[in-house]
């Protein structure tokens, strides 16, 4: 399962999650969501994986790659590449 680092009020996060719903993915079923507001150490981790960028959503895949604030098109391409969704 890939991980989405987010906050409750982050619009880009809601946008991404609403998009993933189109593929039947929800928190716990398809991806795991981590609220960095509830987990301060996760905020440091986010900055580590995306080169110091203080931005959510940051999405970390099982192969270690990550996307920061992707557009839904970029995310869709990535999920296809990883065979997580079918075109």
């Amino acid at each position: 399962m890939f991980k989405i680092y987010s906050t409750a009020w982050c619009g880009d996060c809601v946008r991404i999650k609403n998009f993933l719903l189109e593929f039947g993915m929800t928190n716990g079923d398809g991806y795991e969501e981590i609220d960095i507001d509830q987990n301060p150490e996760a905020a440091d981790y986010v900055m580590e994986v995306n080169g110091g960028n203080k931005s959510v959503p940051t999405i970390v895949f099982e192969d270690g790659t990550s996307l920061t604030e992707p557009s839904v098109i970029e995310l869709e391409d990535k999920l296809e590449e990883l065979n997580l969704i079918k075109n």
Binding site: C10, G11, C13, R15, G52, N53
Partner: protein
Amino acid sequence: MSQDIREVVIIGSGPAGLTAAIYNARARLNPLVVAGVEYGGQLMGTTDVENFPGFPEGIMGPQLMMNMLNQAKNHGAEILYKYVTKVDFSGDVKKLTVDGQEVQARSVILAVGSSPRLLDIPGEKEYWGKGVSSCATCDGAFYRDKIVAVIGGGDSAMEEANFLTKFASKVYLIHRRDEFRASKAMQEKVFANEKIEVLWNTKVDEVKGDDKLVNSLEITDTVKGESKNLEVNGMFLAIGHIPNSDFLDDQVSRDDRGFVDVVSGHTNTNIPGVFVAGDVHDHHYQQAITAAGMGCMAALDVEKYLQSLD
């Protein structure tokens, strides 16, 4: 996406565009919404919306926008998560360039809203996302126990400054004049907040950092004429909005600030078949409900226009 001529294409996906989409979809016009990559509009960057009717406890901005999007989709609107980069309104059939491809339509609703204004100073672009932001509610959590500056003097600057005190140890509110434009109530909240220090008559000249993150601002006191370095970890811009209308070029009449003109009726631009709604026209009310209301008006005007063609 079919290659046929669309009855209506709606550009933009804030409250204006999505309300228009709901109406035009229900009228069986099979609208295409070119939503943009950052779809959902300005409310995607805010927390509680407490003045949109129908939600007695308030609603999170992004949730409200996804509700509108899903409502438009449920009624059959087609959504494209891309930008329109060019328009040609010279003929009866309007032509739009979307991601290098041409889309044709008998009518168009311009609902592209507005974007935060930038200071246009050195360092601002380089440190965007690395300390520079226009959305406190999106990025505030990264500034726990840090020092930040908010630039501006209107309601949204007050709101951002107050919000940031939830996380930051100190918030400088930097304003170039000696009084705020913001409402009295908002100002009082700011003055009562011990974490906020107002720097009057001050302008920011440069954003500085260690190449990775912001660590200070070069500021000038415009009355004393003195410049100094102010240590901060972040800078939040709240200096107003500019309409997202550059791509329209001279294809439709705009005022000197770029807002699209209504020349007759309530939503008619100077081009027959091209209508406008929301913040890209209205720089006066700038509210979600008024944008949605104007989206409804534009959708109904489209229906009437298309009937007049038959």
